[in-house]
């Protein structure tokens, strides 16, 4: 709601600036309005129709080499019957992020150490979409979650709806991977090869 108010105020400002003949200022305000609207409107529409996305992990934090299945839940606020098939696209990523100083500037670099994409079918029951999403933390790529100050490693699990019913906006969940190796003898071969 606040975003819509801000977008409205910006649009009003652009209108006033146009009436005053300030062309450059009008263009700038109009572009800012477009950017704010592009960010706010999809979220506002989504919030009208859907509750916040939920991800339920059977175990947390995860371990190196662990294989698990998370449950993704998206509850609709409408009583519409959903007959369309629905899928979600997932992406599991391990990202290194560093900050460093050059002169008086502080810069940040990131590098993805591991990425795994999947497409998973789900189903609607009484207006609630659920999907079981496999999550496999590799032993031989990525690293445990850590934040040392200037050097950080994070795990992100990104979920995006597909089909006619689910919202298309990407939702990112942060996972915690602890520095524990799943017992080596019990590791599936594909977990080590992932």
């Amino acid at each position: 709601m606040l975003g819509l108010v801000i977008a409205g105020a910006l649009l009003f400002g652009a209108f006033v600036a146009a009436l005053a003949g300030a062309v450059f200022f009008t263009i700038i305000l109009f572009l800012i309005t477009l950017a704010v609207s592009g960010f706010v409107i999809p979220r506002a529409l989504e919030a009208r129709a859907w509750h916040a996305a939920e991800l339920h992990l059977p175990q947390s934090p995860l371990s190196l080499g662990s294989v698990t299945a998370a449950e993704f839940v998206r509850r609709s606020k409408k009583s519409t019957k959903f007959g369309h098939p629905a899928q979600v696209h997932t992406q599991l990523r391990c990202v290194e992020s560093v900050t460093y100083t050059v002169g008086t500037d502080t810069r940040t670099d990131t590098e993805s150490m591991f990425e795994k994409r999947r497409t998973v079918d789900g189903g609607f029951t009484a207006g609630t979409f659920t999907a079981t999403l496999p999550i496999q933390i590799p032993v031989e790529r990525g690293a445990p979650t850590m934040d040392l100050g200037h050097n950080e490693i994070t795990w992100e699990f990104e979920i995006k709806g597909s089909g006619r019913t689910l919202p298309k906006r990407r939702i990112t969940f942060t996972l915690t991977v602890q520095p524990v190796l799943a017992v080596p003898e019990s590791l599936p071969q594909d977990a080590q090869d992932a």
Binding site: D109, E140, P144, L148, P179
Partner: protein, 142 residues
């Protein structure tokens, strides 16, 4: 900062899981029968600490843990055993794309009115349950 030719550090193992302990011994021989007071830069103590430091593109993050101090006798002699425990919530040894985390045990000869000497030994800190699996920093590429 230089090295102390009379200082020796040996470790039982150079790999430890998080929460486990590095054990070893430190010894310092006297200098040609001189008493410590006759030595230039009198040795006050020998200190041992477990440290990590990052390297790579980012600014350096480092931390020192579990420092132990051994006083020297009148000849500057030390002969002692030590145990340094790796905190369970510390980072593991890591060799990634932008980030490397290296662990080392550092012995310092604390000298009065002189620059300390130091001796550094690289060690490997591995995840819980990682014994027998790791022989180098995480991750071990196939």
């Amino acid at each position: 900062m230089g090295t102390d030719p009379n200082l020796t550090v040996s470790l039982d193992h150079d790999i430890a899981e998080l929460g486990a302990t590095f054990r070893g011994s430190v010894s310092r021989a006297p200098v040609d029968g001189q008493t410590n007071d006759q030595t230039l830069g009198k040795v006050r103590a020998v200190r041992i600490a477990l440290n990590y430091a990052t390297s790579g593109r980012g600014d350096v993050d480092s931390k020192s843990y579990a420092m132990v101090e051994f006083p020297v006798d009148e000849y500057g002699l030390v002969s002692a055993e030590f145990a340094l425990t790796v905190p369970a919530d510390s980072p593991i040894s890591y060799d990634g794309g932008l980030i490397r985390v290296g662990w080392f045990i550092e012995a310092r000869t604390d000298r009065q009115l002189a620059t300390d000497d130091k001796l550094s030994i690289d060690v490997l800190v591995i995840p819980h349950n990682g014994s027998g699996y790791y022989d180098r920093p995480h991750p071990i590429h196939a």
